[in-house]
Symmetry: C2
Subunit: 342 residues, 2 copies
């Protein structure tokens, strides 16, 4: 089978690619070819695999060519992040909305005469986000957002994700694709440098102290949020791909599992795993811009439909930290990224 991962060079995309290559099969079919599109090249270990083909550049510029190229499956992860979309409205529209629309139209054009003739349409898994949820003056946000909570996004990023969920549902209803949207929870611990996401600090307050560097937490310690690890996120995307339509249960998006955790719980877990000196590297300094965005985010989530697919959240945040440490330890720069623990 031939697969496409948009955003295949990114944090989740490259891990998904690695997992798929390691499995060798998806939904019972052998993976012959794995195309990764991204604005930056994927990691070298992916490029080294003969099944991998990397295409570098904005997705929007690549969709015209996709009109005549058949894929068995697509994981559509490419996206500008929330902070970027707030700072640059047009970037968000282009990267998140126009690119998705162009991708869907390419797949629709591709279908051609197959539809209705028993031909199989491309299966597409879309990474939506917990950011679709937010409080509106007319409808307060529940304590825990569920699969069927009314999404009222309070950011352009969340709006664009929600709009794509509904387009994918309609293209699926029309038989142009077999689309499934899964809402990713906040994925921690992200390696590397802070990115433009308003949620960046959720990784920073763990990653920086582990590297022996001070980190600033811009929100109060009692801020709670649904969080998960990259590995569980990848498991979720694969399970959603492999689910039958009946098991997926409708065309509406579902929540992926999350551990609902407070910043203070995260820091307790950090202390448990790495000791009090590491924890002491986190300093609280309120940033009104970030705190204002985060105040409109869900404090927790449930994921009933995902549970029926066998997907469950981590039981504690220490496990998420340990996964990050194990990931770092396997890399050449382990000494640097885990300097705080030495």
């Amino acid at each position: 089978m031939k697969l496409l991962i948009t955003g295949g060079g990114g944090f989740v995309g490259s891990r998904l690619a690695r997992a798929l290559l390691a499995r060798g099969t998806l939904d019972g079919q052998r993976i012959e070819r794995l195309v990764l599109t991204d604005i930056a090249p994927p990691p070298a270990y992916l490029l080294a695999d003969a099944r991998v083909e990397a295409r570098i550049g904005p997705l929007l510029a690549q969709t015209e060519a996709l009109r005549t190229e058949a894929f068995d499956g697509v994981f559509h992860l490419a996206s500008a992040v929330s902070g970027e979309c707030e700072a640059d409205f047009e970037l968000g529209l282009r990267s998140n909305l126009d690119s998705t629309r162009a991708l869907l139209d390419a797949l629709r054009t591709n279908v051609g005469a197959n539809v209705g003739a028993g031909g199989k349409v491309t299966r597409l898994v879309f990474s939506s986000s917990v950011a679709v949820f937010g409080p509106d003056p007319s409808v307060p946000l529940p304590k825990l957002v569920a699969d069927d909570t009314l999404p009222l996004p309070q950011t352009s990023y969340g709006t664009q994700k929600l709009v794509c969920e509904h387009l994918i549902s309609d293209y699926t209803r029309k038989g142009y694709i077999d689309g499934r949207a899964a809402r990713l929870m906040t994925v921690t611990v992200r390696p590397g440098r802070p990115n433009g996401a308003a949620s960046s600090f959720f990784s920073g307050i763990i990653r920086e102290p582990l590297a022996g560097v001070e980190s600033i937490c811009p929100v109060s310690p009692d801020v709670s949020h649904p969080m998960t690890s990259p590995a569980r996120t990848v498991d979720g995307l694969i399970a959603v791909y492999e689910a039958s339509r009946e098991a997926f249960g409708g065309r509406a998006a579902l929540n992926l599992p999350a551990l609902n955790v407070r910043v203070s719980d995260m820091l307790d877990a950090l202390e448990e795993v790495a000791g009090p000196k590491v924890r002491a590297l986190v300093r609280f300094e309120r940033d009104e811009r970030i705190a204002g965005i985060v105040a409109n985010w869900p404090t927790g989530a449930t994921a009933e439909r995902a549970a029926r697919l066998g997907l469950h959240p981590h039981e504690n945040f220490a496990d998420i930290i340990r996964q990050y440490i194990a990931d770092c330890a396997a890399l050449p720069n382990a000494a640097e990224t885990l300097k705080g623990m030495s």
Copy 2:
């Protein structure tokens, strides 16, 4: 003030134009200029008014010019109807989604340096639709859809309306427009010939018998649906325009009021108003395509937020029929349209 009505030549748009011209003011300001865009010319009585300017052609082709033209207010009603959008997927995307996006981007470009400098942005009322609601296997539809019912559209038309609701909310949040989306209920009795809407028969089973012509009802008499009159719909759009942001209550779309009525109730009302011979002109002949679409529609709606704006549904369907008869009686072809009553 200068106003724009997109779809200003249409059923609701032309009535809204007439009502605005008769009032002379909107939100306390004198209406100096009323621009009507539509693919067909507006009625002659509107063109005869010196304040009216008609621009004929698809909205999408007109949005580029709108980038340099300032409007105090916009009623965005232009839309391809549900049946058309199901039959021609690209038409729906172009007419309902791309046109709205281009209109919003024109208004955003227009805002220029005003935003944040206390400048007033264009107020925009969007006619969304009860078609945003539908049952998904994962989430059944409640008996009555409320303002905050989870919308899971089951048609391309409903999907496109919902997507526009969310775009308008986000452009409003960003301060590019002052947007308010109001969900229109099914508006009856439409004059003229049946159109491509799957809901067309809701008017046909009243309009045709009143004209002495047989009408076929494609669904069962116990099908229930939220309905309203053109006059109440126009009242609703104007009230939503004139509401303060606080009174509108958030950025989420609201339902306009509807009378929840069964087909059999409609026919009882027809008999009450026009006699048993007229009622006898309605014949039931199931159309699986129409019945299948209608089976996914809400059987009724509530409109709490609209009620707080002083908007209420009709108390009975006979009033809606009487409004249609009064409208027809005022036109030159009254003898023809009300032939069944003679």
